[in-house]
Subunit: 295 residues, 2 copies
């Protein structure tokens, strides 16, 4: 028996013509403009973890099925294993499973029904409250927390943790989707979760089993030429790349029977002005009210 | 032949007494206070991805060995496969390999020699510049970018992308460490990389092969009881948990022959006041100068 027969991922190297698992995933992300020749990737250059990462899709339809015992703790262990700036661990997470509470979150997030459907809704918090109590008790002052810099530390800490939880969940066969729209109603969310001062609810995360009747798809991304710079930032070629990406996204939605506007139209409308921010243009003042002076 | 004999991870369920791979990892993170009974985890509750995530360690010593061709593009493909808010893709990354440039970054980051050692230094950018050009060309306005909310979107986008790259790198046998200290010298970094307005260099990331002569270790984290909340935020038990964690971190460093201060002392000193922020207390003004009005 050959190695290729034992390891299907590399069977294409033998007599069969099975494509490399990266080929389809790269095509879905980048269309014809793949940054890598999948067929040239050796066994030390591709693995199941990469297949999992590139297979990510946001799941917005869930089965009515509970999570196995211990899943939450496993996701949080993965999250806590993420890097954290200076080991400050400036984040927390609230696990919401109560149906009535999930329903309120769904309402606040512009009626996203998947928040109610998913058995678990995680609210990730940029949390300077714990450090505030600790530093005041230990050294009598915590004024470093008042700076925008330290809020950024808490946001990146919380986001690295959450993204590890996403990767962990997907490895367990679960689907996820981030819900940034909880920031549309930041005060209501903070009151619901009884957050102390110096805690920002950053985003939610639905976790559950994807409904096979309403499957999600791997979404195309901008070509690497636009996102990846070498040695210095060079902003050439953005217009042509965007036009090509617009066409790719149009095809993506057309395949799902959706007549969507071009990506450049959608994102431009999204950042056109404060009215398009769904209430989040108020976030600066809310943060000040929450005990982040943003110095 | 039994399944346990074929799959070593679950051999403990047979006649042998091999511990579950999660047991050691959970003990390293949580000491005696593990949130999960590793021996009770079935094959559908643990996998190689979770083993990888929980094995994360920050690598601050690298071998002088180049990365295989295509590694950078693979890491960026993983990064672009991460979720992004409203598909805005508000991030970019600069790949730095030039030794002289890496040396300058090392100097700016308080002489962290591993920046020079690592063959690849990635600078992750919260990037609203691309959307600025696009929205002005498409709808004639991009005023939504001027709000703190949209900076937070760019920061979380960049961080999710970067964390996927970390997971991808580790799956390929590479080590990484984030370098937040590039924000100590944000203006110098932006000038070096010729960043346009509305781009914040968020953090660096060293990528390379760990030096086996100077191995890194899995670092303990706070108990889950402090970080994970159920339904509502409850801040009880933090003091006792912190004291236990202080002892655990002291043991961790003692095992490496390091006489470190208690964690609560270290982090309290880190947030005590602006003087401890290594220049980053100026970040708010720098962001304004960089074209982020932070409305």
């Amino acid at each position: 028996m050959t190695l290729a027969a034992i390891i299907p991922a590399f069977a294409h190297r033998g007599v069969t013509s099975r494509p490399h698992p990266a080929a389809d995933l790269l095509a879905r992300r980048y269309g014809a403009d793949s940054p890598l020749d999948a067929e040239a990737l050796g066994p030390d250059q591709w693995n199941e973890v990469l297949t999992g990462l590139l297979s990510h899709k946001s799941v917005r339809a869930y089965r009515d099925a509970p999570l196995p015992e211990g899943t939450l703790e496993t996701l949080v262990a993965a999250a806590q294993s993420a890097p954290t700036s200076s080991n400050l661990q400036a984040w927390s997470v609230v696990a919401v499973t109560d149906p009535a509470r999930k329903a309120r979150f769904a309402t606040w997030a512009q009626n996203q029904a998947h928040i109610e459907q998913a058995p678990l809704f995680l609210v990730w918090l940029a949390d300077l409250s714990r450090l505030d109590g600790l530093a005041k008790a230990t050294v009598g002052d915590a004024a470093g927390l008042d700076y925008l810099e330290t809020l950024i530390v808490a946001i990146t800490d919380a986001t690295m943790a959450a993204q590890n939880a996403v990767v962990a969940a997907e490895s367990l066969g679960l689907g996820t989707v981030y819900i940034g729209a909880i920031r549309n109603e930041t005060e209501a969310v903070a009151a619901e979760l009884r957050l102390p001062p110096k805690v920002l609810p950053l985003f939610g995360l639905c976790v559950g089993y994807a409904d096979p009747a309403r499957p999600a798809a791997v979404k195309p991304r901008l070509p690497q030429s636009v996102v990846l710079h070498h040695e210095r930032y060079v902003a050439t070629g953005v217009e042509a790349a965007t036009a090509a990406y617009d066409a790719q996204v149009r095809d993506f939605y057309a395949q799902q029977g959706i007549d969507a506007p071009a990506w450049s139209q959608t994102v431009s409308a999204r950042v056109r002005g404060p009215a398009a921010l769904s209430g989040r243009h108020r976030l600066r003042q809310i943060l000040v009210d929450f005990g982040f002076p943003l110095l």
